[in-house]
Symmetry: C2
Subunit: 103 residues, 2 copies
């Protein structure tokens, strides 16, 4: 019954904006962000990271899967290279990862 | 002609043992190892790494793909958790990655 109730309010950005950017903080903060997204009804959550933080993104995915959301599926993993421009105009390349989890 | 020549010597470990373990050395050494495997006729090369070296494994994959073997395909990526036992018997978990490239 509840699931079929339609309200006039738009379900703001729920469907496509479930991205967690992994930064320098502790890994559990990002785990919590992913879990919260799923608990709020997200069907998919994307974990993104660049450079040496890629390892931490994998830690986040593994902890979410093994400890908090056992029925989560690893939908896709994308590896890419991004170009960064430093303040002096020098360009450098950095690897990046996108881990897409679905429920 | 050459390709069909059959010798009695076994083609030792060519097919299944093309794994490059990424460690603490410079990234280009591992890139070279992957490229050499492909040049020696490997159809598939697996790049493996654990912990914070996962980021370096992604660097290796990106450099191989963009600079050295443009026709390589990203066949599969596996994320997993491995258990390590330290000398005092304490167990710890570490994330790991396997990147499987094919040609």
């Amino acid at each position: 019954m509840d699931e079929q109730t339609q309200t006039t309010q738009p379900t703001t950005k729920r469907i496509n904006d479930n991205t967690v950017y992994v930064g320098k903080k502790g890994v559990m903060g990002y785990v919590l962000a992913v879990v919260t997204n799923f608990n709020n009804g997200a069907a998919e959550v994307t974990i993104k990271a660049r450079g040496h933080l890629i390892s931490r993104a994998v830690d986040v995915e593994e902890i979410v899967k093994h400890r908090f959301v056992p029925d989560v599926k690893l939908k896709d993993i994308k590896l890419m290279t991004e170009e960064l421009q430093s303040r002096d105009g020098h360009q450098s390349k950095v690897s990046a990862i996108e881990i897409i989890l679905s429920k």
